[in-house]
């Protein structure tokens, strides 16, 4: 289990989970007459009232287009949207706001880099390096790029515990490698990857690194300057914000060297039929009217998370992860998939004799929401020789009682299947 090292230096605040739960109206919902037990946070997180209110208020009192309006509403919406960008910049500790590009989500962020960086920096014979535990969104964009360019996709193998094989990684870094793209936290296994070492090893050879932060931004403090990553992407909806908004962080020198991703409004400085001059960063990468309410809502979600404190969140979630892992593995027939030393609050498992989807249906019947399937990481499933797993992914608003409900549900699953 991961130890939160500066726990003793952080202000000692007891984490009041019941108070936190009151901020999330959906947690009061009943599913088939039972209290909702929401354990599918790696798929998407629930939204605090502050985020919901922000969206409602934006559309009922502040809706307007940005950024060129001369009227009051447009000016205010522009300001609020840019304040959200500053909030993201502070959240990631980026060097400048222009390094924060708003996108639809982590997937679009990766596609942007694959298409834009790839178009100018990757040629036939080059290699892109990813890991065996990547989500499809950090596999397919690179496959598409490699196919287009005649480049090769290389894969860093993982161990039986679900950890990156670092020696193999170093061996795979060659003069042909043009980019390394790895998840900070695996959505299917929960593994926290040693990205600091991964980034340092790549930088020794002047290779840029993209970090898929979809599963780390909600659970761990992230400092892109300390990590020294070249790109970092995350999705707003996995961080208690709206769907349809996410972030690509990129170092200025890379973003400046990259061509626009899409053409359209807002990404230009001037247009004639002969030549278009592109806008400055980050607007060069933000063609078309963005998800304005989503961006502002994401800013509010981040401030909510910051108020709780990511160190406090990580400490609470780690304690809950230990408790739930022990409880779940006490159920006969349970086998964990992903047993890395360093894990975020994702518990992937199979139940001998029961298909994950059947377990999911039985649990759903009691209002317990887990994910059952391949988690958009089919190569990981293949690596562990399972068609699918059950995945309980925990948030700071989950409780030990909910973990107990899951365990009771798993005993019921066994009973239904006469195990």
């Amino acid at each position: 289990m991961r130890t939160v090292t500066n726990l003793h230096t952080a202000p000692r605040v007891t984490f009041d989970v019941q108070k936190v739960r009151r901020d999330f109206p959906i947690l009061k919902e009943k599913i088939r007459g039972r209290p909702l037990v929401y354990l599918d946070n790696a798929a998407t997180t629930q939204k605090p009232q502050a985020v919901i209110d922000t969206l409602t208020r934006y559309y009922s009192e502040g809706n307007s287009n940005i950024p060129r309006g001369v009227h009051f509403l447009s000016e205010r919406a522009t300001r609020n949207y840019e304040e959200a960008r500053t909030t993201v910049k502070t959240f990631l500790n980026a060097a400048a706001s222009q390094e924060i590009v708003f996108v639809r989500g982590a997937t679009e962020g990766i596609n942007l880099v694959a298409q834009s960086y790839g178009r100018t920096h990757v040629q036939a014979g080059d290699e892109i390096l990813i890991s065996e535990m990547e989500h499809h969104s950090n596999i397919v964009p690179w496959q598409m790029l490699c196919e287009e360019k005649g480049a090769t996709l290389r894969v860093i193998p993982i161990t039986d515990e679900g950890e990156i094989q670092l020696e193999e990684y170093e061996r795979l870094l060659t003069p042909k490698t043009k980019l390394v793209a790895v998840a900070h936290v695996s959505n299917a296994l929960g593994t926290i990857n040693p990205i600091r070492e991964i980034i340092a090893a790549a930088h020794l050879r002047n290779i840029p690194v993209l970090i898929d932060g979809a599963q780390s931004a909600p659970h761990l403090p992230v400092d892109v300057q300390a990590l020294d990553c070249d790109f970092y992407v995350f999705s707003g909806h996995k961080l208690y914000g709206p769907t349809g908004i996410g972030v690509l962080y990129g170092k200025t020198r890379w973003l400046e060297a990259m061509p626009p991703y899409q053409g359209g409004g807002d990404m230009i400085r001037s247009v004639t039929f002969e030549k278009t001059l592109y806008n400055t960063l980050p607007y060069k990468f933000e063609a078309g009217t963005p998800h304005i309410a989503g961006g502002i809502g994401l800013g509010v979600a981040i401030r909510y998370v910051q108020a709780l404190g990511l160190e406090a969140i990580a400490a609470y979630e780690q304690a809950l992860l230990s408790y739930a892992t022990e409880a779940i593995t006490s159920v006969p027939g349970v086998r964990l998939i992903g047993t890395a030393k360093d894990k975020a609050s994702v518990i992937s498992f199979v139940l001998t004799g029961v298909h994950a989807h059947d377990a999911g249906t039985v649990l759903d019947h009691d209002g317990i929401a887990i994910r059952a399937g391949h988690h958009c990481a089919q190569p990981v499933m293949k690596r562990f020789g399972v068609p699918a797993t059950c995945r309980a992914s925990l948030s700071f608003y989950n409780t030990k009682e909910e973990s107990d409900a899951l365990v009771a549900g798993l005993h019921k699953v066994r009973a239904v299947f006469h195990l």
Binding site: A356, D358, V362, H365, G373, H374, P387, V416, F417, H418
Partner: protein, 150 residues
């Protein structure tokens, strides 16, 4: 647990645990593969077709309880049936599991397959229940491609 019991009826649990006709069929002259990406269900279906009659049928594969039991019970139901009879049975079965006609589909004529009536309450599981049947249709039409429920 009453309506959960309607989905996971004893006969379904039984067939999922001990599937019938669960082997390769050497003499088969028709074969099709089916895939349900949602569950990762994978089925290979073998049919011995003679004079439009399903003389013998078997399957292999992995999947959830619903898909496995459905494949097992389908092989029992269509053996010694003509292709037209099998197609008619599929149509009836499909109407039942999708809940068409507001659950008013008469399970008479479906025999043991009526055990799958509970599936209509679980829309995401309809694909699991119908995978084997779609694969059968592909085998009978001698289509080569893998059937996908997506």
């Amino acid at each position: 647990m009453s309506d959960l019991g309607e989905l996971y009826q004893e006969v379904i649990i039984d067939h999922s645990r001990s599937p019938r006709n669960f082997h390769e069929l050497k003499e088969a002259n028709r074969r099709a593969d089916g895939h349900n990406p949602l569950c990762g269900d994978q089925i290979s279906l073998y049919v011995l077709l003679k004079d439009n009659m399903i003389q013998d049928i078997s399957f292999q594969g992995t999947g959830c309880a619903i898909s496995k039991a459905s494949a097992s019970m389908m092989t029992e139901s269509v053996k010694a049936k003509t292709t037209a009879e099998a197609a008619a049975l599929f149509e009836k079965f499909h109407r039942m599991v999708t809940g068409e006609g507001n659950g008013m589909v008469n399970p008479a004529g479906l025999g043991k397959l009526a055990a799958f009536s509970g599936v209509s309450e679980y829309p995401v599981r309809v694909k699991c229940a119908s995978l084997a049947w779609h694969t059968l249709r592909a085998a009978l039409e001698a289509r080569q491609a893998t059937v996908s429920t997506e």
